[in-house]
Symmetry: C2
Subunit: 347 residues, 2 copies
DNA sequence: CACCCAGTGGGAAACGTTACCCATGGGCGC
DNA sequence: GCGCCCATGGGTAACGTTTCCCACTGGGTG
């Protein structure tokens, strides 16, 4: 069977004709612009309803705004990002802005491609979540369109930032484990080689925070960092390496830099025939639904993704309204959520 | 510090001037259209590279195409959807099309809003994943823009569909459990009240398939369905209800309609002090990363999300190329992935 | 030698919307 | 009573691209 013929779209001209006014008048009503009397408003709105008119965003973008916010997500699988997204959509849902997501496809290349695509599609503003791009590129992006960077430290006059204090989060974990009597607390980090990103990326800050906190607790000698990656497989490899350490070199607690990493670590520990938390404690980061899941019950750090998203959306709206206001950095504090994968150190 | 002044975007006019040709010529080169000599092509391409020109999708959309595909995802949290998305982006990545996601925000209302937003933003085609909308609405959407519906049964001349055979999937689970000696196999389903959707939604088909398979195995007497919802909490409630059954009414195996449901069920079973799979077997559906996670190791049904996505993208490209070709229905077969949450029935 | 056609290039009008500015008319201050 | 200003409405030119069609060239054909 052949599909039915597509109908022509209702345009502003149709509305104007139907309401017996000019297109300019309709446009004014649409944008709540100055210069439309209440009667005019009513007449136009009725015509809009009767015809089922909806403005064409692309055409709007040519002169004015598209009323669209683009969000670049580096990895849809990471269960932390939906929280951020919720905060964004929630803040935007009673504005006239619509959120569209660009799937970052992992990797700097794919991320750049998606970001360009969002710009080319006339987004009024961009929220980049944990971007890998260089600062120079971020500045370029921000010069093309109002931009908020989420989850990265380091500031620029060109864009606003919202981030959680990862150093503080790491300190919370180390403090918690130390209070439970652990001394040999190891950390699985995401390997970062690019020197310019080194200080800005959350993973580097967490590793840094871990080292600082260990020293603060007089555990400098016990600092033990394994570099893999923030993936389940990275956690698995990292934990395997830690478990190979002999006797008093083997850690009694593992601080994984992300919940997915903790997942991999738990898998490796289970495979090794060890028990959590009796033989070894494990803590993650992000407080994903996975961590909250009863049978897992992973101690984790809550980043308040919803709050991050809310702030990002708010800042973006502000910046769209005034591109010249000075840039803002919002830093939020994480909280520790102790669960059943951490307990008193053995012996 | 004030952000730097934004630069004007490079347009096709700039390219034309720089290459000393007409804008028409540049446009032809951009679209590989007929009527541009090799020399012209080379000259224009060089100008494009030198100026770093990228076409403005919104402006293109006004006359031609935007080279953008919109994907409506009802729930980013469901770990099954990223697989589908991967299949889509993978198929599209060496075309000139870009994928943008519309977050469905759960619920028919939000879904409708996002779908409209995608249409208004000039998408060349739409992929709707497991939409809740009525058939009438789907037909309307499809009449506005080429559309592929994923994960819903029932066909229409207006759109193509790609779906997994849920009846078959349910049969795989029941067959597996029956072969392990289970007789009292219960099912936790997602309650569906809307009669028009009843036959089309995957959840209904799974419940149906469960009943058919139970009868086929001579277990008609043991059919036991609890209606909650496809959420973790729904699984928790459903399992609690099942565990309250006394003696020989209590099931020895639970077929949860989705992995998230199985998560909730596992939580309830653990809380009740029972052991999986010794006391009770549990199977899920979707084969998410959660199911594959070692310490969980949930028996599940794999829907080949990647294949679904691939097919959806392929069909959509075909339909964009020819809006008049008859509609196509692709049905894929699921496979069972037995893991450690299912074992021989007790006694 | 007139004619035609294929190949190539460009001019101009769309596409749907908004920004800018001007025209009109009535009320108000002086 | 005269001029001024504000409130209201509309005309028109953008915005960046594609599509439609016409013009020109040169070579082959009748």
């Amino acid at each position: 069977m052949e599909p039915p013929a597509p109908r022509r779209r209702v345009t502003i001209v149709d509305v104007a004709r139907h309401a017996q006014v000019s297109t300019t008048a309709v446009s004014k009503v649409l944008r709540n612009a100055y210069g439309a009397s209440p009667e005019m408003q009513a007449k136009v709105r009725r015509a809009i309803d009767e015809l089922g008119y909806r403005p064409h965003a692309g055409a709007r973008g040519l002169r004015g705004k598209t009323y669209t916010i683009g969000v670049m997500l580096p990895d849809i699988r990471n269960p932390f990002f939906p929280d951020v997204l919720d905060g964004i959509t929630h803040t935007l849902q009673d504005t006239e802005y619509q959120v569209l997501l660009g799937p970052g496809d992992c990797g700097e290349k794919g991320e750049a491609r998606v970001t360009e695509a969002l710009i080319d599609r006339g987004m009024d503003g961009l929220i980049l979540v944990a971007p890998l791009a260089s600062r120079k590129r971020l500045d370029e992006v921000a010069s093309a369109v109002p931009t908020v960077i989420v989850g990265r430290h380091g500031s620029s006059p060109a864009y606003d930032t919202v981030a959680d204090d990862d150093v503080e989060g790491a300190a919370l974990v180390v403090g918690h484990l130390a209070a439970l009597g652990h001394r040999r607390i190891a950390h699985i980090e995401h390997l970062e080689t690019d020197p310019t990103r080194l200080a800005e990326m959350p993973n580097a800050r967490r590793a840094d925070g871990y080292r600082q906190a260990m020293r603060a607790h007089g555990l400098e000698e016990c600092i033990d960092v394994v570099s893999t990656s923030y993936t389940q497989e990275g956690g698995y490899r990292g934990a395997k390496e830690l478990l190979e350490r002999q006797g008093t070199h083997r850690p009694t607690a593992v601080f994984a830099g992300a919940d997915v990493v903790a997942m991999g670590a738990l898998e490796a520990i289970t495979e090794a025939g060890l028990s959590v938390p009796d033989d070894i404690s494990v803590a993650g980061y992000d407080n994903t639904t996975f961590a909250a899941f009863g049978p897992v019950s992973l101690t984790s750090v809550d980043q308040a993704g919803h709050e991050i998203g809310r702030n990002a959306a708010r800042l973006l709206l502000e910046r769209i309204a005034d591109r010249h206001r000075p840039s803002v950095q919002v830093r939020l504090s994480p909280t520790l959520v102790p669960r059943r994968t951490t307990a008193r150190a053995p012996e």
